[in-house]
């Protein structure tokens, strides 16, 4: 009995000493950076129905991380305006696009973290057709003015803009973000008869400076998985 107990305790002692050798350590998960084109849809345009029902607009964006924190971006939008009032009718429809780059200045993120606090710049261009008819301008001193119909004509606008905002990953590859925009009109085509009410993608046609806001949902196509040479210190 004594011998059995001696063997049992010895075995237990040996196991106790050498047990850590036999336990499995959880392997360190290797971190990768996933990149791919990210497609966005501007949700803020959907609220136009409540604030400016005469305008209908859609905007999508595409960006891609070519280098850590650098995201060249292209945005494309369609817009139309339809106003039918007792003293005038006005119609405008067209498209616009913006080209630029966003820079994420949030540092010290892990390689697999994609949140952004960014600044960006854009060059914008728009092309639209507009026309007006049945225009009556009331003038109680000189007498009302009945303007001739203005036939459809094409109008162009060019501008630059600066943006600032954030983008956060909600779920894997699904992002949400907002940005504020400040825009400066560089050039707009002159029309002898009528100035546009809106320069699509920019803002009011009679303004040189415009402010804007975007709130978008993005999905990134996870095409490329890259392993960095060294992991940054968290």
């Amino acid at each position: 009995m004594k011998r059995i107990l001696k063997y049992v305790f010895s075995t237990l002692f040996i196991l106790y000493i050498f047990f850590p050798v036999f336990t499995q350590e959880e392997p360190v998960k290797e971190k990768f950076r996933i990149t791919g084109p990210r497609i966005g849809f501007d949700l803020s345009r959907l609220t136009l129905y409540y604030f400016q029902p005469e305008r209908t607009a859609y905007e999508i964006s595409l960006d891609y991380e070519i280098k850590r924190n650098y995201y060249p971006t292209v945005e494309f939008g369609l817009q139309d305006i339809k106003l039918e009032e007792p003293d005038y009718n006005y119609f405008s429809d067209g498209y616009y696009f913006r080209l630029g780059m966003d820079y994420n200045f949030q540092k010290n993120l892990a390689i697999d973290q994609y949140e952004m606090v960014f600044f960006g710049f854009r060059y914008g261009f728009s092309k639209q057709d507009h026309s007006a008819e049945s225009i009556i301008i009331a003038d109680d001193y000189w007498g009302d003015f009945y303007a001739e119909s203005i036939p459809k004509s094409t109008f162009y606008g060019h501008w630059i803009e600066l943006s600032a905002g954030i983008r956060a990953e909600l779920f894997k590859n699904l992002f949400v973000g907002w940005s504020f925009r400040g825009r400066l009109l560089l050039f707009k085509s002159k029309h002898p008869s009528i100035e546009p009410y809106y320069i699509h993608g920019f803002g009011r046609g009679n303004k040189r400076v415009s402010l804007g806001f975007n709130y978008s949902l993005y999905y990134r196509l996870p095409l490329i998985k890259s392993k960095p040479k060294t992991l940054p210190v968290p």
Binding site: A132, I136, Y141, W142, G143, S193, E195, Y197, N206
Partner: protein
């Protein structure tokens, strides 16, 4: 619940005040005026000048454009027509009797003997634009040239051709 009620009330107030101001905003946008200031040219120096009895009305329109006495300089706002590329205005300057009459209640009174009339014509370009969905259309105006008669008016010139800023003087008239 309290926050919800406050939020709804805030939106209602914003909408209410927006609606109230719309009429005034439209009126300001749809009525365009050329601001004309009055000057005398004494000893080569341009000085503001005033007239005691003075009237301006659009030619062929019996209504008198209000004479603005609230501004520091004597001046008048000339309303431009949305329907034509030119407007003419008649300036009526009162000339008083040299000999006053005695009024028992009010003392000596100088009556108006007659009026001296001058006509000022403005030519301008117009470009139509949509002010807003609620206000409708109006014009941007830019003065091209002017002409005038010389009974009281010595000369007149365009100072700022673009019509828009309430505080800017578009025309200087010398007497």
């Amino acid at each position: 619940m309290k926050r919800l009620i406050i939020s709804i009330l805030s939106f209602a107030l914003i909408y209410f005040f927006h609606s109230c101001d719309q009429e005034k905003i439209c009126q300001d946008e749809l009525e365009s005026y050329a601001n004309a200031g009055f000057y005398t040219d004494k000893d080569g120096t341009l000085k503001d000048t005033t007239f005691e009895e003075f009237e301006v009305r659009g030619l062929q329109n019996p209504d008198t454009i209000p004479f603005d006495t609230l501004r520091e300089k004597q001046s008048v706002r000339l309303r431009l027509s949305q329907g034509s590329d030119s407007c003419a205005y008649v300036f009526s300057f009162a000339v008083y009797d040299s000999i006053p009459t005695l009024d028992i209640m009010n003392g000596l009174i100088w009556g108006i003997s007659y009026y001296i009339l001058d006509t000022l014509k403005l030519n301008y370009t117009r470009q139509i634009y949509l002010v807003s969905p609620d206000c409708g259309f109006s014009h941007h105006f830019e003065l091209i040239d002017l002409s005038y008669t010389n009974n009281m008016i010595q000369s007149a010139e365009i100072a700022i051709s673009e019509i828009g800023n309430f505080n800017e003087e578009n025309i200087k008239i010398r007497f």
